[in-house]
Symmetry: C2
Subunit: 260 residues, 2 copies
DNA sequence: TCTGAATGAGAGCAGTGCTCTCCTACTTGG
DNA sequence: CCAAGTAGGAGAGCACTGCTCTCATTCAGA
């Protein structure tokens, strides 16, 4: 459980707590409140119509102000979208984190399933916000640095699940040499895994990344309607696939080092 | 190889040949030519700027005509986008089909890998067109009936690979009862699999659908930049994951009914 | 109390999708 | 071979968009 706290701790500090500062003066508070109202209204339009139909003027109109006033808070439409993207990443990341905390690290397969279910649940409940972050990147929009930390929260939770499993002896080691994996994984991740309090073998990182992408592939097909007229019982398909992904990563039930 | 021909045949007839009619009169030909030029120009703008920045007026301007003239060919921007979507589905489907034909049905694992590689290759070469069909659905845009046949071509190829493997005795049967799978898969797919010349056990359909979604999840993460600063050697990761997916589907090397 | 910054209002610009009317050119029926 | 009908293009115009600029107001701190 140490890994849990450390991973989640770093995620929380880097992505969440620092963004909401201490209580400020009345003026700054009013400003933050208006900015929040703008974001809320924008989020409503996003949920109703999708990102491309999100209109600054409509948001301003709904809020009873004129469109130019909105530019005092967000310098452009892209910046407003970025704020919504960060919020969405934080929301789905928080769903994953709290699911992990709730499931506990005792049974890795149970934790893995809980996290995956939470992510899928959030995606199905917020399809347009999900599309905003995991669909096609917005045109001419390069993800600014503010989004990378929140964007990695779900992946860090999956990493924490694997590390907890490894510490409990419920993670099958990969058979391929670690040197092969080092060239696959990027420098940033290697540094993360080499930190002194990390215990996860670097060799599982590629499998984890693949499972991460595959998980979101499954969710995206469901959210984006690719399973229409193909798969009816998506719950069952998801559950079975999540178990397969856990096995692919190397997760086993606690106690039995090598299951079926 | 019978399965190959029959599957690909139905795909070709339904999706491709019917759309390009016989040689017509000069007038209709001129009309088709202009429509083609519009689509080409639109595709160029799509590749350069993305779907959301595709502008009818800009297309018309580039073609030296006025925007209203363009409405003689496409009744709305959405219809032009739909035409591009159909073309993109056909292109990626054709890439998959020809990869399958080239690989042959002798070695199922080889065929599976070839098809997956071809799909990934097309996606990386045409990221914006890929985003158009596998990214977030365009806002307020419900896929018209014209797109469902082309959209299913890649999936049909994967189905054909599995059926060829089954006929060669290189497909591991699922352990769960077929009744369970029947409720997962939609009516349309069940009817497809129950056709007299189909030999694929219905029980592998769910595994195939899951692998299908996971494959595109992996590709989407790569195309949409989710692997930036996470995975460097994406080729290796893809190859390894494709093998894992093949195993998940139940594909084995020819001759050995159940290998590791 | 005065100054300067923050905030909002309004006009305006260039661009968009789309519709309407008008005019030309061409195909086709007699 | 000619008249009629139609397909296609041109242009104006409408409502909307993101964004910028200027001008007035308000309000906090020196």
């Amino acid at each position: 459980m140490r890994a849990v706290l450390s991973y989640l701790g770093s995620a929380l500090v880097s992505g969440r707590l620092l963004s909401m500062g201490v209580i400020q003066g009345a003026k700054e508070r009013a400003r933050a409140e208006v900015a929040g109202a703008i974001k809320d209204q924008a989020r409503m339009q996003l949920a109703a119509e999708g990102a491309a139909r999100l209109s600054l003027r409509a948001v301003a109109r709904e809020l009873g102000m004129v469109s130019s006033a909105l530019y005092r808070y967000f310098p452009s439409r892209d910046d407003l979208l970025t704020a919504l993207i960060v919020d969405a990443y934080d929301a789905i990341g928080e769903a994953a984190e709290s699911a992990f905390v709730k499931a506990g690290a005792a049974d890795p397969l149970h934790a893995w399933g809980g996290v995956c279910r939470a992510v899928r649940g959030w995606a199905l409940a917020h399809p347009h916000e999900y599309a905003l972050i995991y669909g096609s990147p917005v045109p001419g929009y390069a993800a600014p640095q503010d989004t990378v930390a929140p964007a990695s929260r779900v992946a860090l939770v999956l990493l924490a699940v694997a590390e907890a499993a490894h510490e409990a002896g419920a993670l099958t080691e990969p058979d391929l040499p670690a040197a092969d994996c080092d060239s696959v994984v990027a420098e940033e991740i290697r540094q993360l895994l080499e930190q002194p309090d990390r215990t996860l073998p670097a060799a599982v990182a590629p499998r984890l990344a693949a499972a991460w992408a595959q998980l979101f592939g499954l969710i995206s097909f469901e959210v984006f309607g690719q399973f229409n007229q193909v798969i009816d019982d998506r719950d069952t398909l998801f559950e079975k696939t999540v178990v397969a992904l856990a096995h692919q990563v190397g997760l086993r039930s606690t106690g039995s080092g090598a299951g079926t």
